[in-house]
Amino acid sequence: MQFALLIYESPEAFSSRKSRENDTYISAWRAYHKALFESGAFVAGDPLEVPETGTTIRIRDGKRGIQDGPYADTKEQLGGFTIVDLPSLDAALEWAARCPAASYGVVEVRPLAPEVRRRVVE
């Protein structure tokens, strides 16, 4: 069963990505990724650029609305995602708890929707 681990981070966490001295951030993520990969659960995943680099678009009644920045105006923003293949939600939650972001941000575990995917792709 596949799950997405959606990682939400605060502005402070986003800024700590850049500072070269703050090695713990990158080192913790590197170790986590390795452990996940070695376990065989890792499917895909990527970090996202900072929220300010986002551009949001919506079309309503034929009118285009475009806006700089992320869709939702919340403190914690989507910072990346990981797709994992695991036997159960329990197992996915275990990996979510090990995720470095769980102790400074939020990790949402969401099952992928293979049935919807099948209807779209076929």
Partner: protein, 410 residues
Amino acid sequence: MTDTSEELARRTIERVARESYGRLVAYLSVNTRDLAAAEDALSEALLRALTTWPRDGVPQNPEAWLLTAARHAVIDTVRHQQVVSSNEPTLQLLREDIVDPTLSTRFPDERLKLLFVCAHPAIDPNLHTPLMLQTVLGLDAARIAAAFLISPKTMGQRLVRAKTKIRDGGIRFEVPDDKELPQRLDAVLEAIYGAFGIGWDDMLGVDQQGQNLAQEAIWLARVLLQLMAEDAEVRGLLALMLHCEARRAARRDRDGRYIPLSQQDPKQWSPALIEEAERHLAEASKRARPGRFQLEAAIQSVHAERARSGQTEWTAIAQFYRQLIRIWPTLGARTGYAAALAEANGAEQGLAVLDAIEPDQVVGYQPYWAVRAHLLQCLAKGVEASIAYDRAIGLAEDPAIREFLLKKKG
């Protein structure tokens, strides 16, 4: 109604709920086997107490008052469901002494039966601990779910299913006979230790009531000891948990950084808890029936000795681990043995113990990788150590341990 009487009533309810919850649930369900109904009835009785006691004063025997109110609630529910006929035996049992309040002041303690039901072989072992926490201690499903890292909805459903099975599956509320007892007791002890393990890992998991699951587990073991004072392993388990709990304050420095056992300041250990642990362990050894928990407690006892002698007898610890592995060959015991053996006889011997463990067993077992990394580092195998450190860091859930390992890795 004054603030003080309200406050007094509220505090009394909290105290009685905490001390008597399991006793009341056990007594209400021992014949009906319907844990959910007993819990519902008790929570209704507690709600009623919240409105009545501040107004009328706290009753002389709060526990008996709650029992009577809970019984009425059960009878109301059964009547309401209009399934009286099938529940007639239940109703009869509940009615029996309802008119005699003096009788209910001395109702028997059925918690031992309840503990055995929670850890019954017909119930999924993963649910033994959650069931105990809920039915004996009154913890709600959301809190249990958080402790077990399971979604609250799922935990709630699993608990409901387990209770249905207990009610309808013919699981008897009884203390097993001598032939079955050792094995059945192991399951009870294992479930209590399971709660402790979670509370132990969760350094920050103290909730509003200031109760960590580790303390709840110690409470459960004390209850069990009251009911089975003759059993050596019950004392062994309590001794083990008290030894560990004695070191709680020493496990983090002022800035929240992780301190491994070997670097802890023994002055920060609790002498009172260590003394109590030692007393139980000595009492247990009189029975001359060694077991898994007594051996684990003995290992902790050797560690505690450092408070007096200033050093750790690693050879003794390795010896206890060897005995432990003979009867309890878990991954944890083998990893602990490797660490102790390395301290006693050098890192190479410890590493050999780790190498003998099948690789597919340790894919997700963090302590193995932490010990392995440390031993490889001692042997100046930098590249391999670094790989093992990464695994240990990646599998760690506690940010303090992650930071500690990142620093050690260098």
